[in-house]
Assembly symmetry: D2
Homo-oligomer: 174 residues x 4
């Protein structure tokens, strides 16, 4: 069982679409996956589930528990403003400490609207995941100009599909 995190709280996000597509690719490899979509987080979680309130927000704890139980993760990460969405880090700030991501295995997929890709978003996220003790799959997949390469819920760009398949094979044996 692999846990895919759609790393934005934007409604109807491209990250969610890519997360579902990734799930379908995993299914074709007989590998089950669940999706955690940050879109469903409690609206006030950055206040009601962090710091002194850590662990006290039951709706947030559902998400936190899913992370705690996961073994392998795929983070689908859009780039906004030269990094990942703030809500992703706020989500991580609300998770249990010491981190349940320690010693877990993580693969990263980056999305960007522009051609410049999501290198900085993935770099920053890698630092945080390393801090938490997660093991990072070397191969990061970056999908620039993602809008133009998605149609009816599928990635249409052949190179992108090749990279995703390659990452999936590595992740399964990681």
């Amino acid at each position: 069982m692999i846990t895919i995190i759609s790393c934005t709280n934007r409604t109807q996000s491209l990250s969610r679409i890519v997360a579902e597509y990734y799930q379908s690719l995993l299914a074709a490899h007989n590998t089950k996956a669940q999706i955690i979509d940050l879109q469903g987080l409690p609206k006030d979680f950055v206040f009601s589930a962090l710091y002194g309130n850590a662990g006290k927000n039951e709706s947030f704890n559902v998400y936190s528990d899913q992370v705690a139980q996961g073994e392998k993760f795929v983070f689908v990460v859009p780039e906004y403003n030269g990094s990942f969405p703030g809500v992703l880090k706020a989500f991580i700030d609300g998770l249990e400490y010491p981190s349940k991501l320690a010693d877990k295995k993580v693969a990263l997929v980056g999305l960007s609207s522009g051609m410049q890709g999501s290198a900085l978003a993935l770099s920053h996220l890698t630092d945080i995941l390393s801090y938490l003790g997660a093991n990072l799959l070397g191969m990061r997949v970056k999908l620039p100009k993602v809008e133009e390469n998605l149609k009816n819920g599928k990635v249409t760009n052949e190179l992108y599909n090749q990279l995703l398949q390659e990452q999936i094979q590595k992740l399964i044996t990681f």
Copy 2:
């Protein structure tokens, strides 16, 4: 007029204390400063003030306007989980686009509980601020073990004070 941002929404944060102390140091140089404290942001702003809702949350807009009107900034940034607090990036994600931080001048102060300092938090934030076009003062001040070096609202460590004074002098003429 300098705008100091206390970059966490934690209540009674050390960042707020350091922000006020920085303000008092600036006052001694005849330089006025206002403080933006992310603690006061609307509780649901990561949903009600971002993406499709950008600009629609009046309470958030008060903060956004303060940033828009500022010319020089000091970000007081605690390190959590190998980076800055997620709420800071979420705040930036809600600001106007194109960014009103473009061509503004920014200095960074990093806080950390441990001795290892806030190097990663400031590195990640620098990438974001550069993306938005802000000019970065080279000298970053890092205050490790900050709890032990604060008393009655003042920084007690002499070296830290020296670094803060040096940064202030550079910022005033930047």
Copy 3:
């Protein structure tokens, strides 16, 4: 006088071509510029000019002195292997300490062969330059697919030229 550093020791590098083009753009703004090309560094400088040998290699010192005397800098930085060329950091490791780059003003131009750009190279270099105390111009110019957008020593892509002109205007008044 602006100092442009061509940040690779590769012979006949694209960085050198872009550095000369940048120099010509500055000349059109009545601004003189000199080029430091790492290609000319002594062949064994990573041994003969670093650590215990710092300051002892006369050929290296010529370069070191040029940096010391500069006031404003443009680093033209190709991306290799997910960062800038190692030789650039080795060059910086051989410069005087405390750094003569402190309080100097620096603009960054990144080159890459692929479409993904040089975001990581510029991010890493920013950390180093901040460590040395240099003030960074917010606007970083990235030139992806640089081979295809250069002809007869000139950048042919209109958007790239617009970005370079915008950066030059900011740098002159920085």
Copy 4:
């Protein structure tokens, strides 16, 4: 067999001492390790073994072959100037392409003289190793104030030893 890289070309470096100490800790776990010390690289390798000369320098190729044959790696990385030594990246720039580090497993140990640690050095190196496709062990060990915590070739700080032992256990089963 684990390959430990002492990531500086400084003579009698602390990195080399820590590399040998790490080797002795591995031996106590019945795990063999070889050391690659960048101190032995050909003096002019940044010119004679890179770019057009890739693969042509026989003395360099000995090092390159050791990397190619390794399966698991430990990089012992000192922080200079807010990053790792330039010579390390220059060494990587001279290795075969596509990288023989792809799909290999890597652990990082950072050294610093000051108390602020080697967070940026390890962050930058992680980006490069990820670019090359290496899988990164989450747990990074940082040894600040390293001079004061080494004696007669041994790490004397108990916490540091605990962290190194923990990393070794993770690396062996990675």
